[in-house]
Symmetry: C2
Subunit: 156 residues, 2 copies
């Protein structure tokens, strides 16, 4: 999986704690000392997926496009990593001299088994919102949200 997914989720949490203000890529990148231009690429992808909203020009940057309760981890992962299945059946059973056209109408059992597992993965990701992860962090590290807000305010 793309490493940018980690950056994207962390940035979404930070943006959620910051609130409605738009934050430029450079600030978000500086918080974790990430390469700004590359993080920008990930944020662009999130904007295309309507997870973030982007504003150009001075005082511009990114902010959440929706409240964190409405953003699932699946949304973020799909935006960065694409929503194509990890396992893709290429129907090799139809190749070779032993292939039987009569069976093509039936679904490939291997593909079905793989899709079932992947569906379970997607369901778990879709069942957890950014707000849920925020709540988990606030429970184990209550000081973090304020600390984040202060840091982004101070370096505004």
């Amino acid at each position: 999986m793309n490493e940018g997914v980690e950056w994207a989720v962390h940035s979404c949490l930070n943006l959620a704690w910051i609130g409605e203000r738009t934050v430029p890529t450079a600030r978000l990148a500086a918080f974790y000392e990430l390469p700004a231009a590359y993080l920008n690429k990930q944020l662009q992808a999130l904007a295309r997926a309507d997870v973030l909203a982007s504003v150009s020009g001075p005082r511009g940057g990114f902010r959440l496009a929706r409240p964190p309760e409405k953003i699932t981890l699946m949304d973020v992962v799909a935006a960065i990593d694409g929503d194509e299945p990890a396992f893709r059946c290429t129907e090799i059973r139809q190749r070779g001299s032993a292939s039987d056209p009569a069976t093509y109408s039936k679904p490939c059992a291997i593909d079905a088994a793989m899709r079932k597992a992947e569906l379970a993965w997607r369901r778990e990701l879709a069942g957890q919102t950014v707000a849920d992860v925020m709540a988990t962090v606030e429970r184990s590290n209550p000081g973090v949200p304020d600390k984040v807000r202060r840091w982004f305010d101070d370096t505004r």
Copy 2:
């Protein structure tokens, strides 16, 4: 995900239907018109993971190392694709001037959420054996097993 996974699972099913006989890579590859040398690479990985047993020399080849009921799809996927998690937390929260050493002992909430989803995926794969997939195929396409056996017998 590695495309070789598809080839590997199909080959495991074929080997299961064939029985105890060892089958060389070239035959298994010819069945689906796959590049033999590359399929061999995948089968080697399965042998290293003790999913297949390999025999060198004339009349050699591969066979299942265990009965199909004891081989899960997770075993096959892990052998080919590796068993490292797709999402790997690089702890970027520890980087940057705002990082707080006090929080390092607590687990990363994002990592936990991702691992939870991936665990669901692994559980689904580990819950389905090669024998289960064989049964599904035999239910929808009863003629396949005999057809496979005959093809590999004829071209022996």
